[in-house]
């Protein structure tokens, strides 16, 4: 349905008017998306600081970083990248079909995306356990030689941990969207709630796209 048809169809009470202060739904949708992009710009800087720090230390201690980075679980990292890319596909499919007369397909796509997100966290949790058993930790109990190698591992834990926190928040947002699709389908059709949650999820995917080679693919050629 075009956005004009979407708005002109007889609205049930829950979706009769856009929220305050918007005069029309298309204004609300634009404002919602714009707000999320502004927020994502701040998140880019949030992670950007960590990436900058990583880059500086890697440039200063290249050999030690490479040595430490070789011990990350490349297969689990690669699997998780695949999981997250696929979950983004399903979120995109859900967003594409939210305007359909029957939102059943949309809800299923969203449900699968959420399941994949949970799978990502499960793999990450398992990987953290493997890392701890291997002594791939920055502080006490570390199997790494004291020195800059432990700085790499500190970056690994902080960056993936912060990312996992964002994945969890994203999953919460997607779950709330699924609930809204069930309870208020017409409002979801007219507003950009699902699109906005999707933007956040794709951002989380994009951060991982850069984390993956920097944490898992260093020094593999040796």
């Amino acid at each position: 349905m075009s956005s004009a048809t979407r708005d002109a169809a007889a609205p049930p009470p829950e979706a009769a008017q856009p929220d305050e202060p918007y005069a029309a739904f298309d204004r609300q949708r634009l404002a919602q998306s714009f707000a999320m992009w502004i927020f994502l710009a701040t998140e880019v800087l949030f992670f950007g600081g960590l990436f900058a720090g990583y880059a500086v230390y890697r440039f200063a201690y290249t050999a030690e970083f490479t040595e430490a980075a070789r011990q990350t679980e490349v297969h689990l990292g690669t699997l998780n990248t695949l999981i997250l890319l696929t979950s983004s596909l399903f979120v995109a499919l859900a967003v594409e079909t939210v305007g359909q007369p029957s939102q059943r397909f949309c809800r299923w796509m969203l449900g699968i995306a959420i399941a994949l997100g949970v799978a990502f966290l499960a793999v990450k949790g398992y990987e953290y356990r493997v890392d701890i058993v291997k002594g791939l930790v920055p502080g006490a109990g570390s199997e790494l030689a004291p020195g800059p190698g432990r700085i790499f591992i500190a970056f690994y834990w902080v960056m993936t941990g912060l990312h996992a926190l964002h994945v969890t928040i994203g999953l919460g947002a997607l779950a709330v969207m699924l609930r809204r699709l069930i309870r208020r389908p017409e409002a979801m059709r007219r507003k950009a709630d699902l699109q906005v949650a999707g933007l956040y999820w794709h951002f989380v995917d994009a951060v991982w796209i850069f984390l993956y080679p920097l944490l898992y693919l260093v020094g593999r050629a040796q």
């Binding site: 701040t42 950007g48 880059a55 499919l93 594409e96 794709h202 080679p213 693919l217």
Partner: protein, 104 residues
């Protein structure tokens, strides 16, 4: 607002999902490439290749999944702004570090 998104909604069956499905296939292929290239001895080239492929993946996610392709200019500006600030952060940081530690 009409545009490619509107036309696609009239397409039947899987054709309407073609951009998303093709983007996903490209992303998976690029993931394979990143992983594969990591095992080739390219020296400093490994990092360059990895970041280049990651950038390509980011563009696919941003333009197709995040729908920047179909978005109002305002949204594209918002997206670009984030990266402009990131560029400032990285360029100024690296300029400083390269001058200080470059002599090592």
């Amino acid at each position: 607002m009409s545009g490619p998104g509107e036309k696609r909604q009239e397409a039947r069956g899987l054709r309407r999902f073609r951009p998303q499905l093709l983007a996903w296939l490209a992303l998976v292929a690029l993931l394979g490439a990143t992983w594969g290239f990591a095992y080739l001895p390219l020296g400093a080239g490994n990092l360059v290749v990895a970041l280049a492929i990651s950038t390509a993946k980011l563009l696919l996610v941003a333009v197709i999944f995040m729908e920047l392709r179909e978005s109002a200019a305002l949204l594209r500006l918002g997206a670009a702004a984030g990266f402009v600030f990131l560029a400032i952060l990285l360029v100024l940081t690296f300029a400083d570090v390269a001058v200080r530690y470059g002599g090592n």
